[in-house]
């Protein structure tokens, strides 16, 4: 084991020890923060999966991915506005609206992402590395610009239609909303796992990610496979956006920029290209961000997350569970 690996483990151990002391001294607060961290982390996990899958298959950081996430929330908020929902209450209409709109938003975002890939990234697949990167940034700005034009710079309200009931167990506040976030995210990740491992398309995605030329020789349609990757990544991001909106009830056009950076850090932390890694990374980074907010101060959280990003990239680029990127 190299020095860098030692350092990584030492740092992890030190963090765990510090957190453990907090857990012992102020268990209730610790539990509360942890719950918050897990819910945030679940959403980051969903977004991180999109980053990691796209990077794993075409080695491109899709800067616009965070904005796909936000746009999902914007679209969801708008569509929900057409239903006769009652905010802050638990009604049948709320439930029906939720069940209808949620998958619809996911599909819309999937479609949008496929269009983006087709228009902005595919033509540049063989261009020098700089070109698709710049296009991705341009796309990010374009999407943010659309949201800015659509709903302005101020925060946008997302209808509060989740069941409100909550309970307090041993002093820890826990609501249906929290459960909703974690459970929904877990279901989606599980579905993804099944898809990747059991379906033909999933296998094609894994093969293309490993060795594009070989996959092509095996008769896999590369364009379709890459498009599918973008589609699925956006399904998850759209879901993440909906979940964020339903939980926090407020979004703004730059949300994707901020969250995107954190989610990408999570993907790298877990091991870029590694799907379980992105899920685990999301949860861990979500927890770390929550602990940082509470114990260090939210004005330092960005610095902490960025520090993790640089640290991982420089000292342990394979991340926690190992990276999965195309060979060659």
């Amino acid at each position: 084991m190299g020095l860098a690996d030692y350092g990584f483990y030492v740092l992890c151990a030190a963090t765990v020890v510090l957190l453990a002391t907090q857990a012992v001294i102020h268990p209730i607060q610790f539990a509360q923060v942890s719950i918050f961290g897990l819910t945030q982390g679940s959403i980051y996990a969903l977004v991180a999966l999109g980053y990691t899958m796209v990077y794993g298959i075409i080695e491109l950081i899709n800067f616009a991915h965070g904005d796909v996430f936000t746009l999902g929330a914007y679209i969801g908020a708008t569509i929900l506005g057409f239903f006769a929902i009652s905010e802050g209450a638990t009604t049948a209409i709320n439930l029906i609206a939720l069940l209808l709109v949620f998958p619809v938003v996911m599909l819309i975002m999937g479609g949008i992402n496929v269009a983006i890939e087709r228009v902005a990234y595919r033509p540049l697949r063989n261009a020098p590395r700089l070109a698709p990167l710049i296009t991705a940034i341009g796309m990010s700005f374009f999407l943010e610009g659309i949201m800015f034009l659509w709903r302005g710079p101020a925060t946008v309200h997302f209808p509060d239609i989740l069941p409100q009931s909550s309970t307090t167990v041993a002093g820890i506040f826990f609501g249906i909303k929290d459960a909703f976030v974690v459970v929904t995210a877990a279901i989606l990740v599980a579905l993804l796992a099944v898809f990747i491992n059991r379906t033909k398309l999933g296998k094609a995605m894994r093969a293309t990610a490993q060795d594009r030329d070989a996959a092509q020789l095996m008769g896999i349609d590369i364009n379709r496979t890459i498009a599918a990757t973008f589609f699925i990544g956006a399904l998850l991001a759209g879901a993440g956006g909906m979940i964020w909106g339903l939980y926090y009830n407020t979004v703004y056009y730059q949300l994707g920029f901020r969250s995107g950076l954190i989610a990408f850090t999570a993907a790298v932390f877990g091991g870029i290209g590694n799907i379980p890694g992105a899920a685990v990374g999301g949860l861990i980074i979500g927890l770390i961000a929550a602990y940082s907010d509470s114990y260090i101060g939210s004005k330092w959280t960005q610095v902490v997350v960025f520090g993790i990003l640089i640290g991982v990239l420089v000292f342990r680029p394979t991340g926690l569970l190992g990276m999965r990127v195309p060979e060659k």
Binding site: L130, T135, F141, V303, F306, L313
Partner: protein, 401 residues
């Protein structure tokens, strides 16, 4: 024989022409502009705007070295701008008196502007050293993160930097003597002793023009040198460059450091001109604005990025803010006055147009990459120059045969 010679001379003149022509035009415009402004427009606000455009030109020239020459995508360029600005601001203002140091420092502008350059370059080296060996994508996102946390840190350490209250009352540059005359509307030609810039727009304008000219010369020199070719080789194919003996890590560090020093230098200038710095001036949007300028103008082309910077500055900071008014007037005159009022979700034409910046940047970046990645003024001068040199080579070969 004579005809060949004549043809050669004619061709030679024409080669230098395009780059030189562009610079010549820019120089003349730069000289005439303030005079026109004062006498025809009766004020110096446009000159101040031109100076602000000047910072962006300087920034674009610097980022061009990083992105255009060496092919390193830096998304946090504004961070070095901030570092340069704050270095000057803290060491040439009353700010440090209210900090734990309890003692204000006032170092001369002319020293600090170089100090800021070195400080920024140092941070560039510190950031670059562990990260420049990463892949392009990763480097981009690392610089993005850096660009995010630097303003954040300036906010956080408010004991030293005044945080959200900004650093104000920044010292002005001071010269032993200065030339004033009818061109600045200050009466007859005279030499002024102990000239303090004191926010004088003409003085700042003249200085930035000189700085830009110097920058252009220096960067052009680098372009046609061993280092410049090494950068381009790395940009084209890093593995092959290394195989040819180029130490890619140190070469990239040089590009990054030089880019950072340009930014820091411009930052110090900015602080002196604005007399106020706050973390809000150095957010991501600034980094991206400079990047869009470089992409628009043509990565790697010095004249290109200058034009790109000027064009984009004009559109984004002059045309568009002014557009709402013009658009409102236009709408009213055409009978679409109802568009200008706020109603429900539609914020009115004025507000709507003011929001276009993001979309414009996005469209420019995507469109340029897809349609014209070489920029509006690509560095084809080199190509022309070389083409004509090849004609000469052939002629000498033929003559020798």
């Amino acid at each position: 024989m004579i005809r060949a010679l004549y043809a050669r001379l004619r061709l030679r003149e024409r080669i230098r022409d395009r780059d030189a022509a562009v610079f010549g035009i820019l120089l003349i415009v730069a000289l005439v502009f303030p005079i026109v402004d004062i006498y025809i427009r009766g004020g110096t606000s446009d000159v101040s705007q031109a100076t602000r455009a000047g910072y962006f030109v300087l920034l674009a020239i610097g980022l061009n070295v990083v992105v255009g020459f060496a092919g390193l995508l830096d998304l946090g360029y504004a961070a070095f701008f901030a570092i340069g600005a704050y270095t000057y601001a803290l060491l040439a203002s009353p700010q440090l008196a209210s900090s734990p140091a309890h003692h204000a420092v006032h170092i001369s502008f002319w020293i600090l502007i170089f100090a800021s350059m070195f400080v920024a370059a140092a941070f560039g080296a510190i950031l670059g050293f562990p990260t420049l060996r990463l892949r392009g994508d990763y480097l981009a996102i690392v610089t993005l993160g850096f660009g995010e946390i630097v303003p954040q840190l300036f906010y956080n350490f408010d004991q030293w930097t005044g945080g959200i209250n900004a650093v104000g009352l920044i010292d002005q540059p001071h010269l032993a003597f200065w030339l004033q005359g009818p061109w600045s509307g200050d009466g007859p030609l005279q030499i002024v002793r102990n000239f303090n810039f004191n926010g004088d727009p003409i003085a700042f304008y003249v200085l930035i023009c000189i700085l830009i000219a110097v920058a252009v010369v220096l960067v052009s020199n680098l372009y046609r040198s061993r280092l410049g070719r090494a950068w381009m080789a790395i940009r084209e194919d890093e593995v092959a460059a290394a195989a040819m003996g180029i130490n890619t890590v140190t070469t990239k560090l040089l590009a990054f450091g030089i880019g950072a020093s340009f930014s820091g230098f411009a930052g110090a200038y900015y602080a002196a001109d604005q007399s106020l710095v706050s973390p809000d001036n150095f957010l991501f949007i600034v980094s991206i604005t400079v990047l869009v300028m470089v992409v628009l103008g043509g990565m790697g082309s010095i004249t290109g990025v200058i034009i790109g910077a000027l064009v984009l500055y004009f559109v984004v900071f002059y045309l568009i803010p002014g557009l709402p008014e013009n658009a409102v007037n236009l709408a009213n005159s055409v009978g679409l006055g109802s568009l200008t009022k706020k109603s429900g979700d539609w914020p009115g034409l004025a507000e709507e147009i003011g929001r276009l910046n993001f979309i414009i940047y996005g469209l420019i970046l995507v469109a340029m990459m897809l349609l014209r990645p070489q920029g509006i003024l690509p560095s084809r001068v080199r190509e022309q120059e070389l083409k004509h040199a090849a004609v000469q080579e052939e002629e000498t070969v033929v003559e020798q045969a």
